[in-house]
C-alpha cells in the first residue's frame, strides 16, 4: 500500500508544472484557478495530519 507521501506529492509536482512551467505568450490574459492554494494547502494538511496521527500513535 502506498503511503500519503507517494499518493499526494506526485499530484503537487504535476500541479506545480502546470501552473509554473511551460510556454507563455506574453500579453495574454491569465485566468486564475479557484482553490489551487487549497490544493497545495490541502495536500500539506493531509501529509501533516498523517504524520501527526503516526506521531500520536507512536506515543501511545
Amino acid at each position: 500500500m502506498r503511503d500519503a507521501a507517494t499518493l499526494d506529492v506526485p499530484l503537487v509536482e504535476l500541479v506545480d508544472r502546470l501552473l509554473n512551467r511551460g510556454v507563455v505568450l506574453t500579453g495574454e490574459l491569465t485566468i486564475s484557478v479557484a482553490g489551487v492554494d487549497l490544493v497545495y494547502l490541502g495536500l500539506s494538511v493531509v501529509l501533516s495530519s498523517v504524520e501527526t496521527i503516526r506521531g500520536a500513535g507512536a506515543e501511545i
Binding site: V9, L18, L19, R21, E28, L29, S48
Partner: protein, 222 residues
C-alpha cells in the same frame, strides 16, 4: 471565441487539432493549439488536470511545447498576433525539445512531519523559543545536506547531459528533491529501472518517477 492555449506544434502537425477537437492557429513554422474557453470566472482544479490530459493527448501524437495553464486569448486573431512575435524562438525550442519527454523524479521524506512549522504552539519561555529555533535550523540544515547527497546520487545514476536536468532541493517541507530529466522515449524504461533500484537504496525518502510528460520544465517562456 475565447481560446485557452494548450500547446505549440509544428505547422505540419496542426492536423491533430481536428481529431482532438481543438482550434489550430497557424503561423509560418509553428501553430498554436487551443480550446474554446467559455468558463466564467476562475478555473477549477478539474480544468487544470484537463489541461494536462489535453497536452498529453497532443504529445502522444506529435512533438509539442506545452503551454503553461491559464493563457487565454480573446480570439484566434489575438493568439495569432502573439504567436507571430515568438514564432522563431518557439520553432527553435520545438526542434530541440519537442521529441523529448520529461520524467519527473520526486524524493519525498518518509518522515515529512519532522521539521516543525515556524508558527506552531507558542513557546512558554524565551529560552524554549530560542532552543526550538536552533533545533529547527539544525534539522533544516541536515535535510539540505542530505538532499544535496541525494541529488548527487540521482545525477550519477541518470548519467544524462546536465543541460537536460533541472532540480530543486527541499522545495516543500515534504519533498527532498524535485527533479526533471529530459529524455528520449527509448531511454525511459532503462532510466526508470535504474531509478527504481536507486530508490530502494535511499531509506529516508520515497522515490516516485512520473512521466513521460511533455517537456513542461524545459519549455522556456521568454
Amino acid at each position: 471565441m475565447t481560446l485557452l492555449l494548450r500547446a505549440i506544434v509544428a505547422t505540419e502537425d496542426a492536423r491533430v487539432a481536428a481529431e482532438l477537437g481543438l482550434t489550430a492557429v497557424p503561423a509560418t513554422g509553428v501553430a498554436a493549439l487551443a480550446s474554446a474557453w467559455e468558463t466564467a470566472g476562475a478555473a477549477a482544479e478539474a480544468d487544470l488536470l484537463d489541461h494536462h490530459r489535453v497536452i498529453q493527448a497532443i504529445f502522444g501524437r506529435v512533438p509539442c511545447l506545452p503551454a503553461r495553464f491559464g493563457s487565454v486569448f480573446a480570439d484566434a486573431d489575438a493568439l495569432g498576433v502573439r504567436l507571430a512575435l515568438r514564432e522563431k524562438d518557439l520553432a527553435t525550442q520545438l526542434a530541440r525539445l519537442g521529441h523529448r519527454c520529461e520524467l519527473a523524479i520526486t524524493c519525498a521524506w518518509r518522515d515529512s512531519g519532522r521539521v516543525a512549522p515556524a508558527t506552531s504552539v507558542p513557546a512558554s519561555t524565551g529560552r524554549a523559543y530560542l532552543e526550538r529555533g536552533v533545533a529547527r535550523a539544525r534539522t533544516q540544515k541536515e535535510r539540505q545536506q542530505r538532499a544535496d547527497e541525494i541529488v548527487a546520487r540521482l545525477l550519477g545514476e541518470l548519467a544524462v547531459d546536465p543541460a537536460f536536468i533541472r532540480h530543486r532541493t527541499c522545495p516543500r517541507p515534504a519533498v527532498a528533491v524535485s527533479m526533471s530529466a529530459l529524455v528520449t522515449r527509448d531511454e525511459i524504461d532503462e532510466l526508470s529501472s535504474r531509478l527504481e533500484r536507486l530508490g530502494a537504496q535511499l531509506p529516508d525518502v520515497t522515490t516516485v518517477v512520473q512521466g513521460p510528460w511533455a517537456p513542461y520544465t524545459f519549455a522556456v517562456s521568454e
